[in-house]
């Protein structure tokens, strides 16, 4: 069995990030997009923790905690927007929310 290295962390991180990104780009349901964004954030968190683990430093760890906290706040705001959207135009499909096009 191979030893655990930063590469493994990074591969996982990249995988999570790309999956999340694909979700953001392809899905139309705002809640799913939102979940995908969370996935991307956590992909980044994995990378942070991977490096912290490799360098034996607590900086990355604490940064990841910060990111989680900010992501929590962000999801509150995001969910608020989704609620407003639902109440206002009765849909959460991004394809229907195109009032800002030219």
């Amino acid at each position: 069995m191979e030893e655990l290295t930063a590469t493994h962390f990074l591969l996982l991180s990249a995988a999570l990030f790309i999956i999340g990104m694909m979700g953001v780009l392809t899905r139309r349901n705002v809640i799913v997009i939102f979940m995908s964004v969370e996935l991307m954030i956590n992909g980044v968190n994995v990378a942070l923790i991977g490096f912290a683990w490799e360098q034996n430093s607590m900086v990355g760890q604490s940064f990841a905690l910060f990111v989680i906290a900010v992501a929590a706040a962000e999801s509150i705001v995001g969910l608020g927007i989704i609620m407003a959207l639902q109440r206002r135009i009765d849909t959460i499909d991004v394809a229907d929310v195109r009032q800002l096009r030219e």
């Binding site: 953001v24 780009l25 991004v94 929310v97 195109r98 800002l100 096009r101 030219e102």
Partner: protein
């Protein structure tokens, strides 16, 4: 005394500013007296400066401030008064003062009265800066400023189309000369690393004579524009569109002599190049002859005097060219008074004749305006070079100077011009003041001008008659002693270099000029007296006695094409029209306008706008409003940016 020099130009400037800003709300008399008082102050200070220079060889200087302190390019604003400047100061301020007084009568009731009395002191300020300058940039400033004032005052009656045209013509023709002057200054700075006169003159041996010739000729181009020499004199006769006092002050006594003054100031440069001096003498002589001959055929009294001015400026340029420096300034000095007086006198005639300028519609005026007649006659005698009148001595010295410089052919041409001087000016006198009355007595009632105009005439008549005494005895008078130092400034810097050697050669000529034999002096006196009296006699026979042998009409017919040539001013205006103005119009319209302006400049501007418009129209479609598209754009952008960053860092690309 040095500390007060700044007041000389400052007083007129203050008066000009106050009159320009507040003049509209001031009474006419207030503006006029303010201007006159400021000039009187300048005149008094100039007298003091002159008195200081009388028994001192040390120039007065005053450092005002550093105008352009930019590293090596350092231009101080210094006022500088040596003997040459002192004489110019006297001429400028005294004639200005007289003209200011005269203008109060001449311009009375004019709606632009306050404007006139702000431009006129402004002109005096500019002219004083020009003569007080101690470096090329300040003299150039004064040079351009007098040009501007000349433009403003020629176009004073701006509602008259011809006045506007004349003003533009004066400005544009002067621009040609100024281009040469400016190029000369740049060349001087390039070669000598300085624009201060004394520094430049001290470094003359650094450059070859050829370079000095080019510099001198460029400077002369400037002088030819301002002092109305041959190819560029066409603007001066047209400048008579301005009010007559302006013609007297700017276009006879002061501004037009700026070119002569400048050449005299550049004495070390000009005298270092014998080629340049020959060109100056040649141009001066031809100008004097041509303008004198044109003046014979003109009927507008102001134009006769204008061509006479051109002719006498030719005399001065000729004097510079043959190295008769003192004679040039001497003639400038006497000419300022008698020519100023001629213009003021003609102004008085025009005033008394209800704005009539055509001499064919005058005649017999001497009994209506005796003061004008007598003063005009004195100035005319001076202009003609009748013996004992001021103009006689100065003009004679120029002729002697030409002969001593071995320019025999040119000197003979100058004798011709001197003969014309007498003929045309007495023709003007007799046509205007003698003979039968050709005006319409029903409508025109000639009258003498008010005292405010006749007193200045009398004031000017004194120097016009007597200014010659400063040059007595001939070739060794007071003015010669006084101006000698101005034309020997570089004596102690001699030795070395060919430039200086040639310069000294010129000096020897000047020396010769002081030991003219009595026989020669008398011969020249006699010759020019015969010519002057001859001109007077012919004019008398032709216009007063009506002797059939001298009937002007018969002569005009006999001379046929020559008369037409002269009457049409050698067709110079037409030639310029055909050779320069029409091609310029054509180029302007067909190339500059239709191709450069419309196609290239407008095309570029409109093209930029059209491109932006088109590309925005295309880019508009990117704005889909679909969030996923934006996110995709961000992702792709990030990938590209990071990809480039990584690629640049990696050693794969080497």
């Amino acid at each position: 005394m040095s500390d007060l020099l700044f007041l000389i130009p400052l007083l007129p400037l203050l008066a000009a500013t106050i009159n320009f800003v507040f003049g509209r709300r001031m009474a006419d008399a207030q503006t006029a007296w303010l201007a006159t008082a400021s000039i009187a102050g300048s005149f008094a200070l100039s007298l003091a400066a002159f008195g200081n220079q009388l028994d001192s060889d040390e120039p007065l200087t005053q450092h005002l401030y550093d105008w352009i302190p930019a590293g090596l390019f350092h231009v101080p604003l210094n006022l500088y008064v040596d003997h040459l400047t002192a004489i110019m100061l006297l001429v400028v301020t005294s004639v200005s003062l007289v003209v200011h007084i005269y203008s109060q009568g001449y311009m009375a009731g004019d709606p632009g009265f306050y404007r006139f009395f702000s431009f006129l002191p402004l002109f005096v300020f500019s002219m004083l800066m020009l003569v007080l300058a101690d470096n090329f940039l300040v003299i150039f400033f004064g040079w351009e400023a007098v040009g501007l004032c000349s433009y403003l005052l020629i176009g004073f009656y701006f509602k008259r189309h011809s006045a506007n045209q004349a003003a533009k013509k004066a400005f544009i023709v002067n621009r040609v000369g100024d281009f040469g002057f400016a190029t000369g200054i740049m060349l001087i700075f390039w070669k000598f690393d300085s624009v201060v006169f004394s520094e430049v003159f001290a470094r003359l041996e650094l450059v070859s004579v050829d370079t000095l010739t080019i510099i001198a000729l460029l400077l002369f181009t400037g002088a030819a524009g301002k002092s109305a020499q041959l190819p560029l004199f066409v603007w001066l006769p047209d400048a008579m569109e301005g009010p007559t006092p302006v013609s007297a002050l700017i276009h006879a006594a002061t501004m037009v002599t700026a070119g002569i003054y400048m050449l005299a100031r550049m004495y070390p440069i000009v005298s270092a190049s014998s080629d340049a001096m020959f060109v100056i003498a040649l141009v001066g002589a031809i100008t004097a002859f041509m303008a004198g001959s044109i003046a014979l055929t003109q009927f507008d009294i102001k134009r006769v005097i204008a061509y006479s001015t051109v002719s006498h400026l030719g005399f001065m340029a000729f004097a510079i060219g043959v190295g008769a420096w003192v004679a040039a300034i001497f003639h400038l000095f006497t000419h300022a008074f008698f020519k100023g007086l001629l213009f003021l006198g003609s102004g008085s005639v025009i005033h008394g004749m209800h704005e009539e300028q055509d001499m064919r519609k005058m005649g017999g005026l001497r009994k209506y305006m005796p003061t004008t007649y007598w003063t005009f006659a004195i100035a005319a005698a001076s202009n003609a070079g009748i013996i004992v009148f001021a103009g006689f001595f100065s003009k004679d010295e120029i002729l002697v100077g030409g002969w001593l410089d071995h320019q025999y052919a040119l000197t003979i041409i100058m004798f011709g011009a001197a003969f014309f001087s007498s003929l045309y000016i007495f023709r003007a006198v007799f046509m205007t003041f003698w003979g039968e009355e050709r005006f319409d007595p029903e409508h025109v009632h000639p009258h003498e001008s008010p005292r405010i105009m006749t007193v200045p005439l009398i004031l000017l008549a004194i120097p016009a008659f007597a200014a010659g005494v400063v040059g007595l005895p001939p070739e060794d008078g007071w003015i010669h002693d006084f101006l000698e130092p101005a034309f020997h400034v570089e004596e102690h810097a001699e030795e070395t270099a060919s430039a200086i050697a040639i310069f000294q050669e010129g000096e020897e000529h000047a020396e010769e000029g002081h030991h003219v034999s009595t026989a020669m002096t008398i011969t020249f006196f006699a010759l020019s007296t015969v010519l002057a009296i001859g001109g007077l006699a012919i004019a008398y026979l032709a216009y007063v006695a009506k002797h059939p042998a001298f009937d002007p009409r018969a002569w005009a017919e006999r001379a046929g094409p020559v008369y037409d040539l002269l009457y049409n001013k050698y067709y110079l205006d037409e030639i310029y029209e055909r050779l320069i103005i029409h091609p310029l119009y054509w180029i302007s319209e067909n190339i500059l306008w239709k191709i450069v302006d419309i196609e290239i400049i407008d095309g570029t501007v409109n093209g930029v706008a059209a491109t932006v418009n088109y590309s925005s129209n295309q880019l508009r479609r990117v704005q889909t409003g679909f969030v996923a598209n934006y996110a995709l754009a961000i992702a792709i952008g990030a990938v590209i940016v990071i990809g480039i960053a990584l690629a640049l860092q990696s050693d794969l690309l080497g």
